[in-house]
Structure formats: C-alpha cells, structure tokens
Amino acid sequence: MVLVLALGDLHIPHRAPDLPAKFMSMLVPGKIHHILCTGNLCIKEIYDYLKGLCPDLHVTRGEYDEDVHYPETKTLTIGQFKLGLCHGHQVIPWGDLDSLAMLQRQLDVDILVTGHTHQFKAYKHEGGVVINPGSATGAFSSITYDVNPSFVLMDIDGLRVVVYVYELVDGEVKVDKIDFKKTAAPQPAP
C-alpha cells in the first residue's frame, strides 16, 4: 500500500501564485510515501514545501526551473514496479504517445511519468503505463487551452496499481480511479 504522488508544472511564481486551496488541504504530510515531480516548480520554496509533505522527493528538470541541478530523467523502483520520471519537453513532439513510449523503452520502466503539456493523460501502452499528471496549479500553457489543475496519486500494492486522478473542475475536486495490473514478466532464460 505505497502511496506515490505525481505532480508537476506548477510554474510558481511566474504563472501561478500557489497551489489551489483545495489541493493544499488534501495534501497533508504523513500519508504519502513518495513524490514524483515532473519539473517546472520553479523555485526552491516549492521544493521545500514538497519536501515537507514527504521526505522522499524526486524532481526532474523542467525548462523553467531555477535550480539547474535537477536531472533530466530519473528511475526508481517501488514495490514490484519500476517508475521513470522525466519532464517531457525533451520528447518531441510534445505529448506524443509513441515518442513517450520510446522513452519508456529507453528507461526500461513500467510506469513513466512525464509532464509539460499541462494536461492529464494516462495511457496503457505495451505492458506499461504512461501518466501525465497535468499542471497542479493549472498554469498557462502555450499548447493547451483551458488548463484545469490536476495531479495524480498512485497506490502501488503488489502487482496492482490504482491511479487516482484529482482534478479541480469548476472549483470542485473530482476524483477518478484507474486500475492497472502488471502482468508478471516472464523471467528471461539464462
């Protein structure tokens, strides 16, 4: 029962002042075990805030991040799943599923989390999952109109992952749930 929070593209303070209040009230320390942040925080204060939510924080570099020392991509293993993290502006065309799948194969992960498009997406693709948590603040994007604030919470439990999507629509938090099951990969013969 590992809870992993995935969010990104906050663009604070340039395009948004802060996370929506309803999101802030939901994100309390103690429940979440890992945070995957796709990037574009942009300032250190947001990093500290997320660190306060959960000490295990992973951030990749977005193009507007002020801290230049975040990595471009990151991989980690949680439970039975391998997770990959990348901002996504490096993958062209932006938001294209096939290109992202290429990245997934490249990183060799079961779950790939990317951002940059400020739009929530969750694909099941070739035995893996590609998740875009969207923008947690609903910041302006040149490639997406009508951005709604959203983020993703993954509940990894054995071979099953439940993805909860939290979206702020018209001032109300809407929750959706997607189930993914990982098929046990056949062991390669030595």
Partner: protein
C-alpha cells in the same frame, strides 16, 4: 460486613473452600481457570459442553469483529454500490472513508508495534516469534479500534502477553497429555494409514460399542485428563470451533480474556479505567481511577503500617509515582513471568463483584475482593521492602527502590500477606465510609442532639412576650448588621445586657431584648453541648500532648466549638448580664446609664484585651489559641457595633454595669496577668464573685424574683424554690470544682507551657469531669423546666465551658 474472598459455594461436587473448590477442576489448565474467573466461561461447575459452546460463540464474535475492523481498502465493496470516489480516495479528509480508517489504524499499529518490539525481551523465544507478534498486534488493534475513546496506551500489551502465554502453556500441556494417552485422543479412523475395518481385532470392536457414548469410554481416565480430552475433542459440542484448547483459535481466546480483563465483566475493577478516565462515570471525587487507586494503596498502608505510611508521606513520595506502573500492568513489570502467573491466579480467584450494596465507600476500587487484593498486593510489596524504605532519607532513593523492585522475592509470602491485607481492606472500606461519616457528623450530630432538648422548650415558649419582641428586634438587627455571624452578635449581646430585664423598656429595647433572648437561646443550646466537647478537649490536650490521633478529636471538638463560638460568647455575656441586673432591680435609668458607661469602658478595655488576645493567640498550640482568637475576633468585631448601640440605648441596668465593672476589676486583678478572652474573664470572675461575696444564693434568689417579676409564671414558684435548692447545690459543686482547678493552675505558674503537673492535672481532670456532669444535668433540667430556668441553667453550662476554656488557656500559655 464485607465477604472475605473465599470461594463461592459451588453447586455440585466441589467444596466451597477456596483451596479445593476452585482449583480442583482444571488445576492444570490455567487458561480455562482464568477464563472462568474472568467470567468469560460459565462457572466451574458447568459441563464441558457448555464451556465449549461459550468458547465457540466468543470465537465467532471475535472473527467477525476482526473481519470487520481490520479493513483492506482494496477489498471490493459489496456488490453494486460503486464507491464514491470523492469520499473514498486516499487523500480524502472524510473521516468516514475507508482510507481514513485505514490511516488511523496505521497509526495505532505503529504505536502498538513500538511496544510489541519491547515486550519481554528476556522471554523472546516465544513472544518474539512472528506468529505471536502478529497475533498480539491484531488483538490489540481490534480491541483499540473497538474502544476508540481509549485508544492504545502503553502497557496494554503487557496485560495481554501473560494471557497468551497462559494459553500457550495450556496447549503444551495438552500435547503432553495427548502423548501420554494417545489412544484416547486419536480417533483411529482419522489416520490416513487406517487399515481396513474388517481387520480390527475383536477387542477393539468391543471397546467401541455402538450404543455407548464417547464419555463412557473415557471413564477410566482420571478426571483431569478426562476434562482435557473432552475439551479438545473435535467431535464434541460445536465441533472444531468448540475445542477449547486450540492453537488455531488462540487469538480469539486471548482476545476474549483481554476484553474480559479490561472491561471487568461488570465488576468493580476494570483495567481500562486505569488507562483512561471516562468522564461520564468519573468517581465521586473526580480524580482518575488510577490516581484514586494509588491513594487507596496509601490509605490501606496507613491502616496496616502507619509508620511506613507516614515516612513515605513525609518524604513526599506520592503513591502514583510507582503505583501507576504497578496497577496498570498488574505488577507485570515487577515480577518474572512465572511469579506473575501465580499472582494473577490469586487475583483472579477473588471475585470482582461489589461488596457494598450502597454507594458509601471511600475508594471504589476497594469495593470488590479483586480490587482489594490488588491494593493489598501493592501494600504487601511495600511492606516487603519496608526496611530499605524506612532507611532512605530522600524520595529519590525511595522511588529507586520501589521502581526497581528486588527480583529474588518469595512470591508466596507476599501473596500470603496480601491475603490478610485484602480482608483488612474490605473491612476498612465498609467501615471507612461509616467512620468518616461518623467523624464528620459527630460535630453536627452532637450539636443537633445537644440542641434538641433545650430548643424544644424554647420553641414551646415562642409565644412569650419577650420572644416576640426579640424576633422583631432580631429582624431589625439582621437588616442593620447584615451578617449577624460576623460581628453583630456581641453587639447584640451588649444590647441584651442593657435592655434585658425591664419590660417597660422602650421599643428599641424591647425589640432588641427579644432578639437577644432568641440569640441567647440558640447560643445556650450550643453552649450546653460545647461544655462536653471542651472538657474532652482539655482532657485530650493535657493528657495526650502531641499525639496526632487525638489532635483529630481535639480539632473536631474545636471546630465544633468554633462554629458556635459567636453564640457562645454572646450567650455567656447575656447570662452574666442577666444575673447582674437581677441583683439590683434599681432605677432602670441609672442602671442603663451606668451599664452603657460600663459597656463603653468594657468595650474599650476589651478592645485592648482583644489586641492582646490576638497576640497571645498566635501561640504554639494552634487549636485552642485559634478558637480563642476567633472568639476574640468575633468580639472585637462586635465591639464597634456595640459602641454604636450604646449611644442609642436608653435603658441600661445600672446593676449590670456595676456588676460588670466589678467583675472586670476582679478579673483584672486576680487572673488578668495575661490577657484573656472577655468571656473567660467573666467566667473566672464568676466563681470569684461567688466565692468572695458568697452571694450565690442571693443572686439566685434575685434572679428568681426578677424572672417572676417578668411575670412568667407565679405558678411555678414552688417548683422554683425546689429548683433553686437543686440549682444551689449544683452551683456549689461547680464552684468547688472550679476552685480545685484554679488552685491547681495557680500552683503551677512556673511550669512548662502545656502540661500541668501530675497531681494537679488529675485533680483538674476530676474537676472537669464533675463540671461536665453538671452541665449534663443542667441541660436535662433545662430541657424539662420552664424557660426562664432553662436560661439560667444554660448560664451555668456556658460558664463552666468558659471556665474550661480558660483552664486550657492557662495550661497552654507559658506561665
């Protein structure tokens, strides 16, 4: 009387003796025994089948509880109802959501795990096995979720662990017995290598006779083994679920025992109360039960061993410092596991039912034998280390000794002692409430009973002229003074002094007189019964200086005395003035003037006196001096009022004033080396007056004439004369006694403060006793006689009481 915790007489074949009755059955199966004692199982005379059924039911309920409470949020919800994601997501703040419960349980689990990891590190071969830890965790979680108001508190795991251990031991025993009597335990047909039935030998077939029940088959076993067999028979009542000694259901059984222990099974001692306070059903004193129980330990200790108790109290060792741990885990930390099981055996043998039918108890925990045993155990543990405790000089080392209780102790001895203390505790609890009640009520009761007899004649006479007048005056006075108790009484007193005997007084006077007479009567009541208390006091003071227990008595008397001192003082002065004016019967005007003057001078002098009295009253012997001080303060407060009244007064009796002046002078002269209370002075002056002038008879005659002049009743004149004779005799004996006491006191001016010389002391005692007797007689007389006489008799009473007070003062103050 409380029942000693011997075994309840059991129906059936078991004897009521605690040794043989309870223990004869299941003597090797502690788990079963404890479950019987904890009221989970029916009483030990129940049949095996009943026991099995109860066990099965308990297990079923636990299983369903576990399933319900230890939730898995992933578990698919029942049927069609799709979960409301807005509520049921992991980040939901909704307390109803499954995730919310999940997180709360996770927190509980963290707390439980912390404790479990530290459980019995020395016995870890059993307790730290994965299975046992998981079991403990689940049991504690289920219980805590079930009781959210309590939550998990540190120490609960230590209550649970011995229970599981006991069940585990039972299972070991079962396997032992199984090994010994294999052929009974194992049904041949269950074995996989069972041979063809037809090959059975004839003997075996006969042993399994078709019609016979299984129980007959096992008749040739001893009862214990038979019980064990029947308890573990998979084909008995309730089948497998009914196997009482079962490893599969150890968790369920342990949960039942734990629940029974915590809830107390409707008894008095419920362990959960030691962990938290239920605000609704708090104890009568409002302190948490565990604190109350700690103080109950000290209370019991004070009964059993007062010196140790006082030593601990002196050092400032609060009982809850060590008792909290002792009580919360029922001595689990102080003894090894094996010893602890013996202690718990004994503890569970004691019933948990309340022995007190009503609500009169000092300590709730002592109401049941089990609670009393727990306290007694604690006390006996304290007594065991008595010598080392008494040797310590500071609280830290005391606590060190108590918190690191010696390991090598003989548990049997401690238990033995605890048993005797337990009986004491139960008795003390029963008597304690009545005793304290008695002590508290003693003063009020005595005052009530004392006031009964004199009050009734007063009430009967309520229609008298003077009474009415007084009542009117009293109301006025109350309005004027506001609080009669604070200062008005002596001023009222003075008014009485001035106005009493003349019916032709002005309106004011009449009213005031009435007020005063009523006050006087009430005062008299108090005084008559105060005499005894005062005499008690004197006796106790002089004979038992510094003894703490007697201080109690003294204090009681004193408090009682203090409560009525205002009326008493007033009373007394009224009395003196009554007798005073009686002697004169002259021109009221002159008298009034003079008495007003006297009152003025009296007031002034008394103010001086009171200043001095206050000083003196800051002496070492607190109770008496306080009493006198309060009397003096009362008087000083009242003096100011009196001064005001003086001006308004017109009718004052010269006789009164002159008498008072004379009295005052005498008092100043003879015994007024030290400043004394006005009343006492007057009191001492009385005997001197009587002695010196020998006008006792005269006085009485005058008063009688005075009263008859008041027109109360000529018809009682004959009776009066007879009464006068009696009264004269009484007065003379009083005088003699007083003289004895005075001589004694005069002999010992140079003696050390508090204690009179031996001979003088005994003589004084005798004299006081006589005085007391006289006061009793006077009360009785007054109860029966006419009101006017009663007032006079009461004068005698209060006089003697004041005399006694003076004696106390004398004896206490340094010569």
């Amino acid at each position: 009387m409380p029942a000693a915790p011997t075994g309840v007489p059991l129906p059936g074949s078991f004897s009521p003796d605690r040794i043989s009755g309870r223990w004869s059955r299941f003597s090797n199966l502690r788990g079963v025994r404890w479950r019987i004692n904890l009221r989970i199982f029916p009483s030990s005379s129940a049949s095996i089948d009943e026991i099995r059924r109860v066990a099965a039911n308990a297990r079923r309920s636990y299983a369903s509880l576990r399933r319900q409470l230890l939730i898995d949020p992933h578990a698919p919800k029942d049927g069609n109802r799709s979960p409301d994601l807005a509520m049921d997501n992991p980040l939901s703040q909704n307390p109803e959501s499954t995730w919310g419960r999940f997180f709360r349980n996770a927190e509980l689990e963290k707390a439980v795990d912390q404790d479990l990891s530290r459980l019995y590190p020395q016995d870890d071969h059993y307790f730290h096995t994965y299975a046992c830890q998981a079991m403990l965790r689940r049991i504690l979680l289920v219980w805590c979720i079930r009781h959210p108001e309590c939550g998990y508190k540190q120490g609960m795991h230590e209550l649970l662990a011995p229970l599981i251990y006991v069940l585990h031991v039972d299972l070991n025993y079962l396997s032992q017995v199984r090994g010994l009597h294999e052929k009974y335990f194992n049904d041949e047909f269950d074995r996989s290598d069972c041979e063809v039935v037809s090959n059975r030998t004839l003997k075996k077939v006969r042993s399994w006779d078709c019609g016979s029940k299984f129980t007959n088959f096992v008749d040739d076993l001893d009862p214990d083994t038979r019980d064990v067999l029947l308890l573990s028979d998979p084909y008995g009542a309730e089948g497998e679920l009914g196997i009482v000694l079962s490893e599969k259901f150890m968790e369920h059984d342990a949960y039942c025992m734990f629940d029974g222990l915590m809830n107390g099974a409707d008894g008095v001692v419920a362990m959960n109360q030691f962990f938290y306070t239920i605000p609704s059903m708090g104890s009568s004193t409002g302190v948490p039960p565990v604190i109350e129980a700690s103080s109950a330990i000290y209370h019991l200790l004070s009964i059993v061993d007062a010196s140790l108790h006082s030593h601990l109290v002196e050092l400032g060792v609060e009982p809850q410092y060590f008792a909290l741990r002792w009580l919360r885990v029922l001595f689990g930390r102080e003894f090894s596991l094996i010893d602890l099981l013996v202690i718990w055996d004994e503890m569970f043998l004691s019933l948990n039912d309340s022995c007190t039918a009503n609500d009169e108890y000092e300590y709730r925990i002592m109401c049941s034998p089990r609670g009393a045993f727990i306290l007694a155990m604690a006390v006996s543990m304290l007594l065991h280390v008595r010598s080392s405790l008494l040797a310590t000089e500071n609280a830290t080392s005391c606590l060190k000794r108590l918190l690191n209780y010696p390991k090598k102790v003989s548990v049997e001895k401690i238990i033995e002692k605890a048993r005797s203390c337990q009986i004491l505790a139960l008795e003390a609890n029963m008597l304690g409430s009545s005793q304290t009640g008695l002590m508290m009520n003693s003063s009020s009761a005595v005052s009530r009973t004392g006031s009964q007899s004199p009050k009734s004649p007063i009430r009967l006479m309520s229609d008298s002229y003077w009474e009415e007048k007084w009542r009117v005056l009293h109301k006025e006075k109350v309005i004027q003074d506001g609080d009669l108790n604070n200062g008005g009484k002596i001023s009222g007193l003075f008014e009485t002094l001035r106005t009493e005997p003349y019916p032709s007084a002005s309106k004011n006077i009449n009213k005031k007189k009435e007020a005063h007479s009523i006050a006087k009567h009430s005062l008299f009541d108090d005084l008559s019964q105060n005499v005894e208390s005062v005499s008690d006091e004197v006796q106790s003071i002089s004979t038992c200086q510094g003894s703490p227990s007697l201080d109690e008595n003294v204090r009681n008397c004193l408090s009682e005395f203090r409560g009525e001192e205002c009326p008493r003082a007033e009373n007394f002065s009224v009395l003196t003035i009554n007798t005073g004016p009686n002697n004169e019967g002259n021109d009221p005007e002159i008298e009034s003037e003079k008495s007003s003057l006297t009152s003025n001078s009296f007031i002034r002098e008394n103010e001086d006196d009171n200043g001095n009295i206050d000083e003196e009253c800051n002496k070492s012997y607190d109770p008496v001096s306080k009493k006198l001080e309060s009397c003096a303060n009362v008087e000083s407060g009242q003096h100011l009022d009196a001064e005001m009244k003086v001006v308004t007064e017109t009718k004052v009796r010269k006789s009164a004033s002159s008498r008072f002046q004379w009295l005052w002078r005498i008092g100043n002269g003879s015994f007024h080396e030290r400043k004394m209370e006005k009343g006492i002075i007057a009191g001492t002056q009385q005997p001197s007056i009587i002695g010196n002038e020998d006008v006792g008879h005269e006085k009485y005659v005058n008063s009688s004439s005075d009263y008859s002049w008041h027109g109360d009743s000529a018809k009682v004149e004959d009776g009066d004369k007879r009464m006068w004779g009696t009264l004269k005799k009484l007065g003379q004996s009083v005088l003699e006694n007083v003289q004895v006491i005075e001589s004694v006191l005069q002999q010992e001016p140079g003696k050390d403060g508090d204690i009179l010389g031996g001979d003088g002391q005994s003589a004084a005692m005798v004299a006081l006793k006589d005085l007391r007797k006289i006061s009793i007689i006077l009360s009785e007389i007054s109860g029966r006689s006419h009101m006017s006489w009663s007032s006079f008799y009461k004068f005698m009473c209060c006089f003697s009481s004041f005399l006694s007070l003076r004696i106390i003062k004398e004896s206490q103050s340094p010569a």
